[in-house]
Symmetry: C2
Subunit: 179 residues, 2 copies
DNA sequence: CAATTGACATATCAATATGATATATGAGGA
DNA sequence: TCCTCATATATCATATTGATATGTCAATTG
């Protein structure tokens, strides 16, 4: 029980909160967890089918109401699978800052280009930070001690904290390149 | 000229600093840029072959000295390709914190598990931070204004800054879960 | 009122990357 | 001499992305 497919677990996690369609799974990812995880339809839909095959989720045949809508619900087996995965240690946090990559090699392009990349990174970060700060404020209001909201709050605070650090670095890096 | 293969450009970037074997490419990635980029042999070796096919790098036939060693050198065309890529905007910074994922869904596993994940994240982060701080100190000593070291320094400072922020968050998050 | 746009919804596929594994050599220490 | 570790290249099944295709429904706008 050591090599659970990660995408299985992410989707099971989302389904542990509420039943969802594939489309909604994507939406949840693009909202609450976009700053630390992502997935494309090309992995979501096949994974959902596999979850059903493995008995970790079931399709709700909502054929009556919305013809073209397939809702997935987590099973008990699915909850156990999720819990098992949550207990085992984290394998790898993997990070790919294309911005830093372009900065690292910026000698081949010059300071102007480097500063340009930092400035777009800064702009994107500022936007995200506003969103995260709003999320934190909201969650602090509604968050009792034992609900899933507590964990949502902690991740949002993580985002707010590191996006703040990004902005500090942007200022320092720009100064170092301009000075 | 908008969809340069990323792996091509990373490796060209490394080759723009010095000529390297595939094995050394991996070593450079695992050293200087491991905290913001990574790649496996399964992508490095095929990519090197492609770079030669495209005329962006050449193999040095060091058949005389080390029989089993293939050294790659960037070509002028390769340098132009790298520069072109450096000029275009960053497409996507992509981040996957498995730690945050497990924390986000931690309601299904409980606070103890959540704290455990935070603590291993903290331990890994502390180690990395020491390495990065040493790199920063070192680079600040040797870094004249125009060399590639400047950009290396900026990325190392980025790492030091955000790893510091990680640690602050770890304390706060643990307190929130224990308090 | 018709037309168009955009959100909702599912699905597939080529290109790409990972992670594991296999193989082999040379250097250094026990 | 044997063993271990760093060096070095390579392949492959599996996973994932990013793009694309297809279609419905609701709302806005000319």
């Amino acid at each position: 029980m050591a090599n659970e497919k990660k995408m299985d677990c992410v989707i099971l996690g989302l389904l542990s909160h509420e039943e969802l369609t594939g489309y909604e799974v994507k939406k949840r990812m693009d909202a609450a967890i976009r700053f630390f995880w992502g997935a494309s339809y090309g992995s979501i839909y096949p994974t959902l089918r596999e979850l059903v095959e493995k008995g970790l989720a079931v399709k709700s045949d909502t054929a009556q109401k919305d013809r073209n809508k397939i809702t997935y619900t987590i099973t008990e087996k699915g909850r156990r699978h999720l819990k098992d995965w949550l207990e085992i240690p984290v394998e790898k946090d993997m990070i790919r800052y294309e911005t830093l990559l372009k900065l690292f090699f910026a000698e081949s392009a010059g300071k102007k280009t480097a500063i340009g990349h930092i400035e777009s990174f800064e702009a994107k970060t500022k936007e995200e930070l506003l969103y995260l700060q709003a999320a934190v404020k909201n969650l602090e209001r509604f968050c009792d001690d034992e609900s899933a909201h507590l964990y949502y709050l902690l991740t949002a605070r993580f985002g707010a904290k590191i996006y703040g650090a990004y902005l500090e670095w942007c200022d320092e890096a720009k100064a170092a390149l301009k000075g």
